[in-house]
C-alpha cells in the first residue's frame, strides 16, 4: 500500500506553506558558506563540520513543524521513511523532490538524488584545487536530516557522496540507518 505521498507533499506546499523568493534563500546560504570559509581560512573540512552542526540545530526544530503540518504517525519501515523524506519533507521545505535510489537489500540504506538544489544555484566553487576535493557546499542538509531523524528515534548516518559543483554527474546524499533508538515515549503518542 503506497500512500500518495507526492500528492500530500504538493498539497502541503501549495496550500499550507507561506512562500518566499528562493533567491534570498540561496544568497543568504551562500553568504554564510563564504563567511565560514573566510573565518576558517579555507579549511574546508572544518567548514563542512560547521555546516553540519548548523544543520543539526535546524533539523531538531524543523521536525516539529513537519509533524505538525503533516500529522504522520510512525513509519512502518525505513523505506517508507525514505519516501516521506523525499516526497513530503523536501517538497515542503525546499520545493524540490529528490529521487530515492539504490535502496540496499537489507533495507537500511538509500541514496537521495537531488536534481534541483536551491541552495547551490549559480554557485561556482573557488579554483584553488582544494574546495573541489574537500568542500561539500550543501552540507547543511546532512545536519538537517540527521537532526530531524534523530528526533523521531532514528539514528542515521548521513553524508554527501556526489555533488555537481565538484564535477560529479549528480548530487547525491547517502542515508544509512544505524539503529532505532530506544524510546520511553513513542513519538506521536502521549
Amino acid at each position: 500500500m503506497s500512500k500518495p505521498y507526492k500528492l500530500i507533499g504538493e498539497d502541503v506546499y501549495k496550500n499550507r506553506t507561506e512562500k518566499i523568493n528562493s533567491e534570498l534563500f540561496t544568497l543568504t546560504y551562500g553568504s554564510v558558506v563564504a563567511q565560514l570559509c573566510r573565518d576558517y581560512n579555507n579549511d574546508y573540512k572544518k567548514v563542512n563540520e560547521q555546516l553540519e552542526s548548523m544543520g543539526y540545530n535546524i533539523g531538531i526544530r524543523l521536525i516539529e513543524e513537519f509533524l505538525a503540518k503533516t500529522n504522520f504517525g510512525r513509519c512502518i519501515n525505513f523505506k517508507e521513511t525514505a519516501e516521506i523524506i523525499s516526497k513530503v519533507g523536501f517538497k515542503m521545505f525546499l520545493n524540490t523532490t529528490p529521487t530515492v535510489d539504490n535502496f540496499s537489500a537489507d533495507g537500511k540504506q538509500f541514496n537521495l538524488i537531488l536534481e534541483d538544489n536551491p541552495l547551490a544555484e549559480f554557485v561556482e566553487l573557488p579554483d584553488d584545487n582544494k574546495a573541489v576535493k574537500e568542500l561539500w557546499y550543501s552540507n547543511v542538509l546532512v545536519g538537517v536530516l540527521k537532526g530531524a531523524l534523530q528526533m523521531v528515534q532514528l539514528d542515521v548516518d548521513v553524508s554527501f557522496v556526489k555533488d555537481i559543483l565538484r564535477g560529479d554527474p549528480s548530487t547525491e546524499i547517502k542515508l544509512r540507518l544505524n539503529k532505532i533508538l530506544k524510546d520511553e515515549i513513542p513519538a506521536g503518542e502521549d
Binding site: 507561506e18 518566499i20 534563500f25 543568504t28 536551491p118 579554483d127 584545487n129 547543511v140 555537481i164 564535477g167
Partner: protein, 239 residues
C-alpha cells in the same frame, strides 16, 4: 588566417589573469592545447548556460526562517555584544545587497525590453529614484509586498526612513530582554546598505524597532546618506 583558425576549432577559454592582461586568440588556442598540471582540478561551471529569467522559483518561508535563526545564533556566538552582532549581520547582508542590485536591475531591464518598446533605462541617478526602487521593486522581490512607508527626516536632510510593519526576518525570532535594542533586520539593513553603496549612494543603514499597538514588530530602516552624496545631488540636480 586567424579567422580560418577560429572557425575551424571550437572556442576555448583559458581564463583571464590580470597580471598578464588580454590574451590573443592564437595564444589562447596554443595554451589550451597544453594541459595544465594534471593534478589541478577545475570546478565546472554550467551556470552561464542557465536562464536567469525563468519562472519564479520559491521555497517555504520556514526554510528561510530556520536558516536565518541559525545564522543569527552563530553570529551571536562569535560576537561580543549587540553592536558587534549587528555589524556581523549587516556584513552578511552587505555582500548580498551588492549582488542583488545587479540582479534586480538586469531583471527589470529584461522585463522592460520584452514588454515595452523602449530601451531598458535602468540606472538610478537620483536619490529619490533609488529610494523608490528600494521601496517598491526591491521590497516586492524580497518580501512580496512594497514597504509601508518612505519619508525624509525633518531634522536631518541626509536621513531617510523606510518603514515595514511586519518584517519577514523578525517574524519567528523572539529577542530576549538583554538584547533590548537589537533588531534582526540588521541583516536586511545590510542588504540595503550594500545596494546603495554599489550604486554610488554611500550610506549607513540601520534597523530600529518602533512598535505600535497593531504592529509590535514594526521596523524603521534609517538611511543616513554620506554628505558627499547629498552634495552631489544638490550640484547635479539642484534640490
Amino acid at each position: 588566417m586567424s579567422r580560418i583558425l577560429s572557425s575551424a576549432k571550437p572556442i576555448q577559454g583559458i581564463g583571464y589573469d590580470p597580471l598578464i592582461g588580454p590574451q590573443r586568440v592564437e595564444e589562447v588556442e596554443a595554451s589550451a592545447n597544453n594541459s595544465t598540471s594534471v593534478d589541478h582540478v577545475t570546478p565546472p561551471n554550467f551556470n552561464y548556460d542557465r536562464n536567469l529569467h525563468r519562472m519564479k522559483h520559491d521555497v517555504s518561508l520556514s526554510s528561510f526562517s530556520f536558516l536565518f535563526c541559525e545564522l543569527v545564533s552563530w553570529s551571536r556566538e562569535r560576537a561580543n555584544g549587540i553592536q558587534e552582532l549587528e555589524k556581523r549581520l549587516n556584513g552578511l547582508g552587505y555582500t548580498i545587497g551588492l549582488k542583488y542590485l545587479e540582479l534586480l536591475g538586469l531583471r527589470e531591464n529584461y522585463i522592460t525590453n520584452t514588454t515595452t518598446s523602449k530601451n531598458g533605462l535602468n540606472r538610478d541617478i537620483k536619490i529619490i529614484q533609488m529610494l523608490e526602487f528600494i521601496h517598491t521593486t526591491f521590497w516586492k522581490a524580497l518580501f512580496g509586498k512594497t514597504a509601508d512607508n518612505l519619508e525624509r527626516s525633518q531634522d536631518n536632510v541626509c536621513n531617510y526612513m523606510i518603514t515595514d510593519n511586519d518584517p519577514l526576518a523578525n517574524r519567528y525570532i523572539s529577542v530576549p530582554s538583554e538584547f533590548q535594542n537589537f533588531n534582526c533586520s540588521a541583516f536586511v539593513a545590510g542588504i540595503i546598505e550594500g545596494m546603495l553603496d554599489s550604486a554610488y549612494f554611500q550610506a549607513d543603514v540601520s534597523a530600529h524597532t518602533v512598535e505600535t499597538k497593531e504592529n509590535p514588530n514594526r521596523t524603521v530602516f534609517l538611511i543616513q546618506f554620506d554628505e558627499a552624496v547629498i552634495k552631489r545631488e544638490q550640484i547635479r540636480f539642484g534640490s
